[in-house]
């Protein structure tokens, strides 16, 4: 083998601590090395040309570059060598910067270490084999899970770019939490007015297949090639026949049985219902748990009035298979519950605020419904207990957020803004009312955000008190709010008519289950993790699965929309080519020695190991061995380390390569 060694000074980064010319000189003497030189910036164009030139002139067939981390420039050098005719997997990098010059200051010792590092890679590269990138076909079709603003945005972007989208929403209508909001910060424009056109666009889009009242049941396959099973829950209404006339909803005799989820429990709805007037699709659902027919076998009034014969009491859940190439998870959030104490831990929750004992202590979404023109009071600012106008209202921020002992350590990010908005909306409707806000800090980072909070304080006269509330209790029809003002250093007691708790944004209760179905990682709160906090914010640990919106972390509407468009762009990048090239650094099974113990299958985090039958010529199964699906394998090497018979090797990091590296280092001592 004819190996070339190239030592980079990285300006002064390496050159200051490592004597690069000496390293190059020492490396020239290693067996197999036919060329060695150093240069100030090997990654620069002239530097790359040096490598290309040497490959041609000296007829090199392998290259070792001593420079920075492979994370930085492995691609650069592989490309340069490949241009000069060497298989890119015959290029190795010795990390002389992060692993040597940056962490040492003794020049002779660092130089010696640099020589060792290069020698190890020289020995390794002798065992390298040319590898060819894995090519997999791409199904140019996306699945979007969750029909809130994030899911809607991602679906529209992908569909408008010319690809098909399957949008799955578990509720009867798309729209998500945004459809419940009254006005939005920092512009105070009506939430539904800006949202509903998008919802309609989704419904009418020829390339979007909307599956409402449906949930993702199972996901198989890998990037570019997912096979998804979707449970279409029984609506008891045939959606292809229903025209959305609403007669069945009007005639349903079970008027006020269930609390409306859409109105956050502040109003009731019939057994047959559409969650809200602008629902998309405008197809009703029968709530079988309260419907008279399902309880007693009598009634069927809805069926009698339906001219289209769309009512189907016998309807069952259907399972539908869809093939897609990319998945965008946009399942959103839920609010931390104040209704009851959590069963698993009595100290969690806010007993001192009443656990939903006091009707006039509500959460932020309930306030949105009260303030909304489409809400139970048609936007009139009245409190739940007696429908009177509250003259004094207290908002408490950080209920559950930034409170490790009772809730979560994270900041829910949106509460400072929506509380300012709530206080403003209140003051705009109740001119003689008093609004107080208890806060820890005001976090109003964002375009026009701080100005918005200042407006609430300065123009609308909302009184901000820095401090926590220790207790709320009812006395003579008033809610006594006891807290402290830490700036004035005094205790505060306010006799309020209504209290609004800015409760924490939390992950959906089934988010960890979904994450497991998708084989993506999630944090201890159930939020789905991004692949890299800075550079891969919409990717997940699994290729082809992207995230958007509050399923990843607390997030407001502008951020969710941006993230959704970014996730859509990532899916479109995937759809940009017919086949997908992947790094060939994957595990490979030696079928001759594999004993079929399948320990590898148990330890694989990516479900990449399958069982494969080996048959003789007559078609009889001789044995069952492990088989690594190279589309799914992420090259982590866990199976390689686990295999008791050494029958799995990780290409690019085979045992003989690693041992050659170690042996060459051991020789020194």
């Amino acid at each position: 083998m004819r190996i070339g060694v190239f030592i980079c000074h990285c300006g002064e980064n390496i050159g200051r601590t490592v004597d690069c010319p000496s390293v190059a000189k020492a490396c020239a003497n290693f067996s197999g090395v036919v060329h060695a030189e150093d240069y100030k910036y090997m990654c620069s164009d002239p530097g790359q040309n040096l490598i290309k030139q040497a490959i041609k002139e000296k007829n090199l067939d392998a290259v070792v570059v001593g420079s920075c981390s492979p994370h930085m420039h492995e691609k650069t050098f592989r490309k340069a060598c490949s241009d000069a005719g060497i298989n890119p997997y015959l290029v190795e990098m010795a990390n002389l910067r992060e692993h040597c010059s940056w962490i040492h200051d003794d020049v002779p010792l660092a130089t010696k270490k640099a020589i060792d590092l290069v020698r190890m890679l020289v020995e390794k590269v002798k065992f390298n084999e040319p590898l060819i990138p894995i090519r997999v076909p791409v199904t140019k079709r996306a699945l979007v899970i969750g029909g809130g603003i994030s899911g809607i945005q991602a679906s529209l972007d992908i569909a408008n770019a010319g690809y098909e989208v399957v949008l799955v929403e578990k509720e009867p209508s798309i729209g998500g939490h945004m459809s419940q909001l009254s006005e939005t910060f920092p512009t105070l424009d009506c939430s539904q007015c800006i949202l509903t056109p998008r919802m309609v666009e989704v419904y009418q889009h020829p390339r979007i297949k909307l599956m409402s009242y449906s949930e993702v049941e199972n996901v198989e396959g890998f990037i570019g090639n997912f096979s998804v099973t979707i449970r279409k829950k029984a609506r008891s209404v045939k959606d292809e026949l229903c025209t959305g006339c609403g007669l069945c909803v009007q005639k349903c005799p079970i008027k006020k049985v269930a609390l409306s989820d859409f109105d956050e429990g502040l109003a009731t709805r019939p057994a047959m219902y559409v969650p809200f007037p602008q629902a998309v699709p405008n197809i009703p659902v029968i709530d079988r748990s309260v419907c008279t027919y399902f309880k007693t076998g009598k009634c069927q009034l809805c069926k009698k009035v339906c001219g289209r014969e769309a009512i189907d009491f016998e309807q069952q859940d259907q399972f539908i298979k869809e093939d897609v190439g990319a998945i965008i998870v946009a399942t959103g959030y839920k609010l931390y519950t104040i209704d009851k104490k959590p069963d698993d831990n009595p100290i969690k929750g806010y007993g001192e605020y009443g656990y939903g004992k006091y009707k006039n202590v509500i959460n932020g979404l309930q306030f949105e419904r009260i303030a909304s023109a489409s809400g139970p009071s048609s936007g009139e600012m009245i409190r739940p207990s007696d429908k009177t106008v509250p003259k004094k209202i207290v908002f408490i921020q950080c209920v559950g957020s930034r409170d490790e002992s009772k809730g979560f350590s994270y900041c829910s990010k949106i509460c400072c803004m929506y509380t300012a908005k709530h206080a403003m909306l209140y003051k705009h409707k109740v001119h003689d009312g008093e609004a107080y806000v208890f806060y820890m800090d005001i976090r109003a980072g964002g375009k026009n955000y701080d100005e918005f909070v200042r407006r609430a304080i300065e123009e609308d006269g909302v009184k901000y008190i820095r401090g926590r509330v220790s207790k709320i209790f009812e006395e003579n029809g008033k809610l006594i709010v006891k807290g402290e003002d830490t700036i004035a250093g005094v205790r505060v007691e306010i006799d309020a008519d209504m209290v609004v708790l800015a409760t924490a944004m939390t992950a959906q209760s089934d988010s960890s289950k979904l994450a497991q179905t998708l084989s993506v990682s999630y944090d201890k709160y159930g939020f789905i993790n991004e692949a890299h906090p800075k550079l891969k914010p919409v990717e997940t640990s699994t290729g082809g699965i992207f995230i958007a919106g509050a399923c990843n972390a607390p997030r407001d509407i502008p951020d969710s929309v941006s993230m959704a468009s970014a996730a859509a762009a990532k899916a479109l990048v995937l759809f940009g080519s017919d086949v997908l090239e992947r790094e060939p650094v994957v595990a490979k099974v030696n079928e001759a020695t594999c004993a079929g113990c399948f320990y590898c299958q148990k330890v694989c985090a990516y479900n990449a190991v399958e069982q494969k039958e080996i048959k003789d010529r007559q078609g009889n199964v001789i044995k069952v061995v492990a088989y690594v699906n190279s589309g799914l394998c992420q090259g982590c090497g866990t199976c390689n380390a686990t295999c008791p018979s050494k029958s799995i090797e990780l290409l690019g990091f085979k045992d003989d390569q690693i041992y050659a590296q170690i042996n060459s280092f051991a020789e020194v001592f």
């Binding site: 100290i347 007993g351 656990y355």
Partner: protein, 293 residues
């Protein structure tokens, strides 16, 4: 039934009636208390402000004695004793360093596994049905405010007893006596505790709010399970009324005294004559009721 017994200092001094009533009630429930032989101070609130080791070692000594004397469950009726014993157990279990130092100091090996009960958990253990079956007097007209204070409940992570913000276990025991627990706001509010001596005005102010809220919610009596709470609410009450006129007296009973009343036990034996706030009107109301029945 048989329990180990750690009376602590209060029950032989300011809270004598707590001791009397508890023993009287347990006798009636065929339950024996075996006092820990040679018990010492639990350290109360003083030890842990002086020395952490002392605050752990004093209760540890009592726990070790109980173990040596063959006990598996020890009743500490005083909330402060209960708290200190539990904290000591927790520290010895979770902090090896302090355990070794304690063992050196006491020249004894510590072993875990003793269950420490407070007044409420004792009655829960004996059984609410058993208490119900011993009811002789109808006290269903009595509205009772259950006052927990702080030491029975906090810190939750160590005591693991009841919800520190919305406790309900004492109400369950009160229901078993036939009396009616009221829903009120201040059952875990601070009474002022040890400020009683140095800053009496703080205690009067805080305790007044507790008394007022109980009265406001139509309570006839406040029931406690802590000698400190009792002394603040009972002993300071006359002065509270003197300094803040227009208030009615409200008797403060130990939970054991209320159970004793429902059992029809002798009032003197329950120590009902040992309070600052006269319990005679309350007892009279029971007699009237009994006559009416």
């Amino acid at each position: 039934m048989n329990f180990g017994y750690y009376p602590g200092c209060s029950l032989s001094g300011t809270a004598k009636e707590f001791n009397l009533s508890l023993k009287e009630v347990l006798k009636n429930l065929d339950t024996d208390l075996q006092e820990i032989n040679d018990w010492c101070c639990c350290g109360a609130s003083s030890a842990h402000s002086a020395s952490h080791l002392l605050a752990i070692a004093l209760p540890a000594r009592n726990l070790m004695l109980a173990k040596e004397q063959g006990m598996t469950e020890v009743v500490a009726p005083c909330a402060a004793c209960f708290n200190r014993l539990k904290v000591s157990q927790h520290e010895l279990k979770t902090d090896e360093h302090i355990r070794i130092k304690t063992e050196e100091l006491l020249e004894t090996k510590y072993s875990d596994g003793l269950e420490v009960l407070n007044l409420i958990s004792l009655f829960q253990k004996i059984g609410l049905d058993k208490i119900k079956s011993h009811n002789k007097i109808d006290i269903s007209h009595l509205n009772v405010a259950c006052y927990y204070g702080c030491l029975l409940l906090r810190p939750y992570d160590i005591l693991k007893f009841d919800d520190p913000e919305k406790p309900t276990l004492m109400e369950e025991v009160v229901k078993a006596t036939g009396a009616k627990p009221v829903d009120w706001n201040f059952k875990v509010e601070c009474c002022g505790a040890a400020h009683s001596i140095a800053h009496t005005e703080i205690v009067e102010n805080l305790s007044m709010k507790i008394l007022d809220d109980a009265v406001h919610h139509k309570a006839d009596v406040i029931v406690v399970a802590c000698p400190m709470c009792h002394s603040n609410l009972d002993m300071r009450q006359k002065n509270i009324i003197k300094h803040n006129p227009g208030r009615m007296e409200i008797p403060i009973l130990y939970l054991s005294q209320l159970i004793g009343l429902s059992m029809g036990l002798n009032h003197k034996k329950l120590g009902l004559d040992l309070h600052f706030i006269d319990t005679a009107p309350l007892i009279a109301s029971l007699i009237e009721k009994e006559v009416a029945v």
